[in-house]
């Protein structure tokens, strides 16, 4: 089997800790409480998020890499972690000033940012909110229209 018959992806995990509160001004206080339960507690709460980024592209024969990790790490640091790690998603990330910072929306926001990575194609992002909950977004593809 020839190499070009294979689809290879590079996967990298990042960790960040952030707080959020699930609340929307489109619902009454009572409805917010009913829909979001304790995630609606007024002062918010936090998670250790695990962000998994998958990229595809040609493996450079000179380096054996789809993308140089140093470049990817620096990009993710600058475009995601700096703004998200040890911050409040509601208060510190403009994208969530109106939008509820569920991990679904977080996936879409991070996907949008990492799509700009110039050295490889972003396949998908997967975020673990806790060890028991994870979410994935692979862009506006079939079965995944936002």
């Amino acid at each position: 089997m020839k190499n070009d018959a294979l689809h290879v992806e590079l996967g990298r995990r990042y960790h960040f800790a952030a707080s959020h509160r699930l609340h929307t001004s489109q619902l009454s206080e009572e409805e917010n409480c009913r829909v979001f339960g304790k995630c609606n507690n007024p002062y918010g709460h936090g998670h250790n998020y695990v962000l998994e980024v998958s990229l595809s592209g040609k493996i450079d024969p000179a380096t054996g890499m789809i993308a140089n990790l140093a470049d990817l790490d620096a990009f993710v640091e600058r475009h995601v972690l700096e703004e998200f790690d040890h911050h409040s998603l509601n208060e510190d990330v403009a994208a969530f000033s109106e939008k509820v910072p569920t991990t679904e929306n977080l996936c879409i926001e991070i996907y949008r940012r990492l799509q700009q990575f110039p050295n490889a194609k972003l396949e998908r992002v997967r975020i673990q909110e806790t060890g028991n909950n994870s979410f994935e977004y692979a862009g506006d593809t079939e079965g995944n229209r936002s």
Binding site: L6, H7, V8, G11, R12, Y14, P61, T63, G64, A70
Partner: protein
């Protein structure tokens, strides 16, 4: 279709160095992975096979057989080895996760005769891994 996954772990050393590049370029591109005496990792390999369960045994393939294939093709070749010097299939390639995963795919695919090799995931560390699929195959296997 059902997917079946088996996991194994092996430990190996490697270094990243391209003899066609200068010492300085090697250092710039590969950083500490270019240290001349190499370093090592505990690799975790997940191998997924797709197929229909046999109506008699209820199995896509016998896990025992998959275990033996992995032992012969991967463990004996790579476990407690130096990937640059002791694995001929990697000769002339930088032993990155991407390249090792492809080599493992090519070693396993012809050996798996019941079911079809669907996915290979190789972790170099919990935070770095490569995935291999047949081109055009979906992750869900359908």
């Amino acid at each position: 279709m059902v997917l079946l996954t088996r996991k194994i772990e092996f430990s190996a050393s490697h270094l990243y160095h391209n003899p066609n590049l200068s010492a300085e370029e090697n250092r710039r591109i590969f950083g500490k992975c270019n240290n001349p005496h190499g370093h090592g990792h505990n690799y975790t390999l997940e191998v997924t096979v797709s197929g229909e369960p046999d109506p008699v045994t209820g199995m896509v393939l016998d896990l025992k057989e998959l275990k033996e294939i992995l032992e012969r093709e991967v463990m004996q070749r790579m476990d407690h080895r130096h990937l640059n010097y002791e694995v001929p299939e990697l000769a002339g390639q930088i032993p990155t996760c991407e390249n090792i995963a492809q080599v493992i795919w090519k070693l396993l695919e012809p050996r798996i005769t019941q079911g079809k090799l669907h996915h290979v995931r190789l972790y170099e560390s919990p935070d770095l891994f490569a995935d291999c699929y047949r081109n055009g195959a979906s992750r869900a296997g359908n």
